[in-house]
């Protein structure tokens, strides 16, 4: 291949040039190319990172929005916490059902009106913790799906928002079959508009989620919580600051679990 053969077709004549063979050795070229490939492979990224878009209220508006209180039955408060060891690393734990390991992000949650202010004396026990039977706090994890079944906190949020999800699933079916518009683009845009309409449909029972991150809660757990909002098509949620009431709730919960 790397030879160039020169042959004279005119037969052997006296004084004709000798048949020449030029052989080019490509080995150094290959060596150099390999080096360059290695360089490019090490110095580049193939994966482009993704983004999660969020909109937070500006700080001035926060006071106003706190005035329009949510309906008691609709609210779910999630308090996030992450367990860390004494060195500060996030503790990993194994899920009993699937055997997979997850970082230990704990989601404490309660349904109903968010606790605010101070508690009446009859709510507290002798150590000033909230009485075990008054405390509605429960504990869950971020566990995703197994075999199409929602697990952990996702199952709870899924249940709370099932009216919306049912409608969106029906719409998704139509979208997959491209029945919403003539072209692919029209199909997509109609789907997006209709999905938004369903998410914001006030005639359906929709939850309001309040996400609070504890002092140890990692950034990852907050992102996981925001993911759950997206996956469960929840349109009304807010990220709130944790306060002493929330801490008291968790302490009381840990006491009922005998962990304190």
């Amino acid at each position: 291949m790397a030879q160039i053969e020169q042959s004279d077709k005119g037969g052997k004549k006296k004084g004709a040039q000798k048949k020449m063979q030029i052989h080019v050795d490509f080995t150094p070229m290959v060596d150099m190319n390999m080096l360059l490939i290695t360089f490019f492979m090490l110095c580049t990224t193939m994966i482009k990172s993704q983004t999660l878009q969020i909109a937070l209220p500006s700080n001035e508006k926060l006071e106003q929005s706190q005035q329009n209180k949510t309906k008691q039955s609709e609210a779910v408060t999630l308090i996030l916490d992450t367990e860390r060891d004494e060195q500060g690393h996030v503790v990993m734990e194994e899920d009993a059902a699937t055997g997979a390991t997850y970082p230990k992000h704990i989601v404490y949650y309660y349904e109903g009106k968010p606790f605010e202010g101070t508690f009446a004396d009859n709510d507290l026990d002798k150590d000033n913790f909230i009485d075990a039977d008054k405390l509605k706090l429960k504990e869950q994890r971020f566990r995703g799906n197994t075999n199409g079944q929602t697990n952990g906190i996702r199952a709870i949020l899924h249940e709370r928002n099932k009216e919306v999800l049912k409608k969106i699933d029906a719409l998704k079916l139509e979208w997959k079959e491209e029945r919403l518009g003539a072209t692919k683009e029209a199909n997509d845009s109609v789907f997006k508009a209709r999905a938004r309409e369903i998410r914001n449909d006030s005639t359906l029972t929709r939850p309001v989620i309040i996400i609070k991150a504890g002092p140890n809660a990692s950034y990852e757990s907050v992102i996981s919580a925001l993911d759950e909002m997206q996956l469960n098509q929840i349109s009304r949620y807010q990220i709130d600051n944790i306060n002493s009431t929330d801490s008291l709730l968790i302490m009381s919960y840990l006491k009922t679990q005998g962990k304190l």
Partner: protein, 266 residues
């Protein structure tokens, strides 16, 4: 007895085909890849199901460093929460990264000097040029001129040492618009520069007038695609919250968080 004669075979392997293949591979890598940006701190972003891509242009990246493992395995918390800013300009070469960075430095410096009349900081033209070549920066304003005068290798060395007292843009939980901290000054300067680009193509009516470009303004103020926050997954949210809260104070309340892709089932 005579030795049997072994016929000498040529061991020459033809490398042409191999060379063809490597050139093809090389072309592929050169065309598909984007270079890793030089970042002062390595972070592992949390994963999310969101699949929106990071834009290639008009992007302000805010990097928040995470804790670092020490040799004994414990975490060094003092290097956590240091803030760095990286800027990518528009595809339009009139609004290149270099120009945006240059305009930003001048504007931020003006705002800084307005607020700190007792300790004004001034940049030479060479320092501004050096700044426009920095992919990501994170320094207190008062240390920036000296840093920019250093050769690139020295700059890298300082960034690598990562002395918590020397690197990172100073930030606190200020919510008062009259007492902006340095991070807020930088972000405020960004807003002003973007606004000027949209209105008349110059900053503060200075410099050559070029065709206005609203894209930077839209990216950072309207859609929020232009502000990407990159943090480590194990960093406590309270650390990230300070950055988000600072942006909220400046009414930059739409932004994106950089994540890695994961499937719905995880």
């Amino acid at each position: 007895m005579g030795k049997p004669k072994i016929k000498r075979k040529s061991t020459l392997i033809d490398m042409t085909a191999m060379s063809d293949v490597t050139v093809l591979l090389l072309t592929f890598f050169m065309l598909t890849s984007t270079f890793l940006a030089k970042e002062p701190a390595t972070v592992i972003t949390p994963s999310s199901v969101s699949d929106i891509k990071v834009p290639m242009s008009n992007l302000v990246t805010i990097l928040v460093s995470g804790a670092e493992a020490k040799s004994d395995g414990s975490l060094n918390r003092t290097v956590e929460g240091k803030v760095f800013i990286g800027i990518t300009g528009d595809e339009d070469s009139a609004y290149s990264s270099e120009k945006v960075r240059r305009d930003l430095l001048i504007e931020a410096n003006r705002l800084y000097n307005e607020r700190h009349p007792e300790a004004k900081v001034n940049f030479t033209a060479d320092q501004v040029t050096a700044f426009s070549k920095l992919g990501m920066f994170g320094m207190p304003m008062k240390d920036l001129p000296a840093f920019l005068s250093l050769p690139t290798t020295e700059q890298d060395k300082i960034m690598k040492e990562f002395d918590p007292n020397k690197v990172g843009i100073p930030i606190n939980d200020n919510r008062d618009l009259t007492k902006l901290n340095e991070f807020q000054i930088w972000m405020d300067a960004m807003q002003r520069v973007a606004q000027d680009y949209r209105n008349n193509g110059t900053v503060n009516g200075k410099g050559e007038a070029i065709a206005p470009n609203p894209r930077f303004f839209e990216a950072i103020k309207k859609t929020g695609e232009g502000i990407a926050i990159k943090g480590d997954k194990d960093t406590p949210y309270s650390v990230m919250h300070v950055v988000l809260d600072n942006l909220q104070t400046l009414k930059l309340n739409k932004f994106s968080l950089m994540t890695a892709l994961k499937s719905e089932n995880e």
